[in-house]
């Protein structure tokens, strides 16, 4: 099961990477994981450092991918991102502004939606 989850996640990240690259984002890092959480994608555009959370669902029958990203998930991503910034001061100093984005993918319908600067 864990294996399958990881596989699904990987597929999602590939779709998201292609999608963002087409939109003009530069991919800096992928699957950067720490003890507390994982940063799916780290990208940049317009001198803003963006941490992207990717969510893929095969169908929308059991809920949308948007529903899966809540307050707690956002807090987790944010904490992990802050950790990343501390561990990589050279990257942190290169950019002034940081933000968190989400890319939600539904495999069945092929829907890919990009949410910029999510806050709760």
């Amino acid at each position: 099961m864990k294996q399958l989850n990881r596989l699904v996640g990987k597929k999602g990240e590939e779709i998201a990477t292609d999608f963002l690259r087409k939109k003009g984002y530069k991919i800096l890092d992928q699957n950067n994981s720490t003890k507390w959480g994982e940063l799916d994608l780290i990208v940049t555009k317009n001198n803003i450092l963006i941490f992207v959370e990717v969510k893929l669902k095969t169908t929308e029958d059991f809920g949308t991918p948007e529903e899966m990203i809540g307050k707690n998930k956002l807090a987790q991503v944010r904490r992990t991102a802050e950790m990343y910034l501390l561990n990589n001061p050279d990257i942190a100093n290169k950019f002034d502004r940081y933000q968190i984005d989400a890319v939600c993918i539904v495999e069945e319908t092929g829907r890919v939606t990009h949410y910029e600067n999510i806050t709760f």
Binding site: A81, D96, R97
Partner: protein
């Protein structure tokens, strides 16, 4: 960039200076935080400010924003920080230029970027005056409250867009003209009942006139349906208008409580408040973590009417004792101690027993002696001692009720209507205002004992009568002084310089309770 905007917080009737510090960070995750002990209504200001700015055509910055309400150890509440926060953000983004002179910003924002009527603007104006702050920017609907104060520039702000234009020197907002106090008083208070509509009860009407003239507490006892409530409600129509000092005191409290309607300025109609007998002690006396005025303070310089007096809980009634004597109430909470003025005229109405017909000549009382004792024990000695006028309101004879008013008038001369009685009351009140000029005492009832020595001129015969009465009826020292006060009011009504024996006699007649 960091900017500081001045605003105020209220604690009791005092306004504290609050510095709203806004910092928009160039670096970091976007966010919007308010610190400095805000309560829920200030936390929600985030959404109001954000939406109002966007709807005013400003791009809300995707940056980290921290707002500090300093000093940070005073708990703050209310929606009044919306405007200073919004202006602070705009100034931090260098979209507006803050005025060079010290200025207060104050007001609640609507989502569309407009400003809403906000309570406490009058107190803000007072604070601006005492702290030497020249300009106040307040919602246009509340601006009249501050415009009655001389020496400050009051800018009525309709919307955020308008204020941005003003601060950037594009389109100036005209400051409000100082509203002279005399212009505000209105005499056309609409009253429910006219005294002329009340049939019979001549002695009760007379007692009401005395009470209204001197601000004396009055207690009415009578069987159900005799007209106690009607008498009390009609009293609101014979109250004299507020004088300038009184109006300022009342406006302070009403501004804090948010009872001044949009566009209103100085309160000019004497308060008449009614409290139901389920009113809690806090509701009546005032209180709360950040103390709010209760009904007794809201009826400051006016009338508090408590119908079904013995139905109030014992604790509530006994809590009235200290404010009735001192004319103010001191409320102490963890956050501090607050004094609210509470110099009110109490009108209390009660039935003589639970069934209501004790002592009625026609109907039999069905209560047991125990029930009557329990009912009347609510009216404790110390409380009743503080009430100057005790009257019985007996049921009106049916023949009198049915009689044609015109023929009635013809036989007894015209019945005095509220307008005529009010003129009498105003005349008597003018005499008192002249007497106590500059003392912060407005009525005979508020005289302190030292004032009695100073102002009251009583003839030796009248004093003798009073002494006799005190000895015969074993009246307390407080009652003695209160009798003098009532006698003084009766003398004022009669336009007499001295208190004569017949004035004392009338005062005594209201004092001695018939059992």
């Amino acid at each position: 960039m960091l900017t500081k905007v001045l605003s105020a917080s209220h604690f009791g009737l005092e306004a504290n200076l609050i510095e709203v510090e806004v910092n928009v960070f160039k670096k970091g995750f976007p966010g919007f935080n308010i610190i400095g002990l805000p309560n829920k209504s200030i936390e929600e200001a985030k959404e109001r400010v954000k939406t109002a700015l966007i709807n005013s055509g400003i791009d809300f910055p995707n940056l980290k924003i921290v707002v500090n309400l300093a000093p940070a150890d005073i708990p703050k509440e209310g929606s009044l920080y919306d405007l200073p926060i919004a202006i602070g953000i705009l100034a931090s983004m260098e979209l507006v230029k803050l005025p060079e002179q010290k200025s207060f910003f104050y007001g609640e924002l609507s989502l569309d970027g407009g400003l809403r009527h906000t309570k406490g603007v009058f107190l803000l104006g007072l604070a601006a005056k005492s702290k030497g702050i020249k300009n106040v920017f307040v919602p246009s609907e509340s601006a009249n409250e501050a415009a009655v104060l001389a020496g400050i520039n009051v800018y009525p702000v309709k919307s955020l867009t308008e204020l941005i234009g003003h601060l950037n020197g594009v389109a100036k907002i005209e400051k409000l003209k100082y509203i002279a106090r005399g212009l505000l008083s209105t005499d056309d208070s609409i009253v429910e009942f006219d005294f002329a509509e009340i049939i019979g009860q001549e002695s009760a009407k007379r007692a009401m006139t005395i009470a209204a003239s001197g601000g004396h507490n009055i207690f009415m006892m009578g069987s159900p349906g005799a007209g106690k409530t009607m008498l009390a409600r009609a009293t609101s129509g014979i109250l004299p208008p507020l004088n300038e000092d009184e109006a300022l005191e009342v406006t302070k409290i009403y501004s804090l409580a948010g009872l001044i309607p949009a566009g209103g300025g100085l309160v000019s109609v004497r308060p008449f408040r009614t409290a139901h007998h389920t009113t809690s002690r806090i509701g009546l006396i005032g209180g709360g973590t950040n103390p709010h005025p209760g009904e007794i303070s809201l009826s400051h310089n006016g009338v508090l009417f408590l119908d079904e007096f013995p139905e109030f809980s014992r604790g509530t009634l006994e809590a009235l004792r200290q404010p009735m004597e001192d004319g103010e109430v001191s409320i102490t909470r963890i956050a501090g101690s607050v004094n609210f003025p509470a110099s009110f005229m109490l009108i209390a109405a009660a039935n003589p027993c639970p069934c209501g017909y004790l002592g009625d000549p026609k109907k039999e009382c069905k209560c047991t002696p125990r029930m009557i004792m329990k009912y009347q024990s609510k009216l404790s000695g110390p409380l009743m001692d503080r009430i100057d006028l005790h009257i019985n309101v007996p049921a009106v004879d049916i023949n009198k009720l049915m009689s044609n008013p015109t023929s009635h008038e013809a036989s007894r001369g015209a019945i005095a209507n509220s307008k005529k009685i009010r003129e009498e009351v105003i005349k008597a009140r003018d005499v008192q205002n002249k007497r106590f000029r500059g003392l912060k005492v407005y009525t005979n009832a508020n005289m302190k004992n030292k004032h009695i020595k100073e102002f009251v001129d009583i003839t030796p015969e009248a004093l003798n009568l009073l002494k006799q009465a005190v000895n015969t009826y074993n009246l307390s020292a407080r009652t003695y002084f209160r009798l003098i006060k009532v006698s003084q009011t009766i003398a004022d009504l009669a336009d007499s310089k001295k208190i004569l024996p017949n004035h004392v006699a009338e005062a005594l007649q209201y004092r001695v309770r018939s059992e």
